[in-house]
Symmetry: C2
Subunit: 210 residues, 2 copies
């Protein structure tokens, strides 16, 4: 395996667990068993390394997401559950791409939102605008009564649910195991979150009474 990939793999694992700020290049190169200077040789800087780690996943994921979201859009009257379920398969197939790919990617997503003051949000919206556009279209088709403002907020609530859950998923899965003797996999976690976010987005406008 090339030095570049060894660095990417080690960086990904460490970033997911300890965050971008919390991981030093020394930890990365030592876990990757390469020389410290290799990071700057291959990537130029730590910031570029972070981008490279994220791009590797997004380049794999984006075409698949665009495909399934377009398919949902082509239906006459898609349901919100269908929209959110569409994410499951592309996300889970990241596990074939790399070991723990799904949870690593979602954790990185969470880290990027909170660690680096919006840098990742900028990166995603400028580099992968289609995914976001298709998603908004799909939700709009499933729930046309939702105004643009309400859609904006509810999608961010949803992003929060996913990203936060996944960025603390390791701890949560541990607690679930010790408290309920329940050996939850990332796949079933995704299954559990879908009804939650679908119901949240589908909530009646202007105050639910549930």
């Amino acid at each position: 395996m090339s030095t570049k990939n060894k660095i990417l793999d080690a960086a990904e694992d460490l970033f997911a667990v300890k965050g971008f700020n919390g991981t030093s290049l020394r930890e990365i190169t030592s876990q990757a068993e390469v020389n410290l200077a290799a990071v700057n040789y291959h990537f130029g800087s730590k910031k570029e390394l972070i981008k490279a780690v994220m791009s590797r996943y997004m380049n794999e994921l984006a075409p698949n997401l665009e495909k399934v979201l377009l398919e949902v859009c082509e239906q006459d009257k898609p349901t919100l559950t269908q929209v959110f379920s569409a994410f499951a398969e592309p996300l889970l197939s990241l596990n074939d791409f790399r070991e723990n790919g799904t949870s690593n990617f979602l954790q990185l997503l969470g880290r990027g939102y909170t660690d680096s003051q919006g840098f990742l949000r900028w990166f995603l919206t400028t580099q992968y605008p289609n995914v976001i556009q298709y998603f908004v279209d799909a939700v709009h088709k499933a729930y046309p009564e939702l105004s643009a403002e309400e859609m904006f907020w509810r999608l961010h609530f949803t992003m929060g649910t996913i990203v936060f859950t996944m960025s603390s998923s390791e701890a949560l899965l541990d607690i679930a195991k010790s408290d309920f003797n329940q050996d939850v996999e990332i796949a079933s976690l995704i299954e559990q979150v879908i009804p939650y976010i679908a119901a949240g987005v589908a909530a009646p406008v202007g105050g639910a009474r549930t």
Copy 2:
């Protein structure tokens, strides 16, 4: 104002924006206009300072939360919307406690969950167990069909929604302003999130079809 409080105030503001890892003691003391050595004199270490910042809010908030949650529990058949709405008033009253108190506190909560690898979760569950217990009781009374496992997951989804939304609230409020010319306040954000989380927690067990 005492040196100790000047440090607490500055630390709080910086921690909320840049996270615990991302804020140095030098930044804190310089913004507080006190000497660098004062932090270690008054608090002993950076970790203790973090605890002190969080405790100041929790000691203010915990009794109020316990009170309103007990009130909800005393009702015959509370609704989930009532349970979550109960949080609004104590949280918003943090704005009287300190400028931007509500959003600062919620951002700190979010930081603590992702920055420091579970340290804050440990801190809250061991130092303020009553709040959590009363909350779980209230939700159980409003939705008794929910099993302990499902409750566990849905409450963490809810925590994610709140915490993530608030930790990126500054950016989100900016976007909302420029995109929709909508001047949203933290209070109306809380109002908007309540139907979302109430619907999510209330989602039918075993797969919603919405």
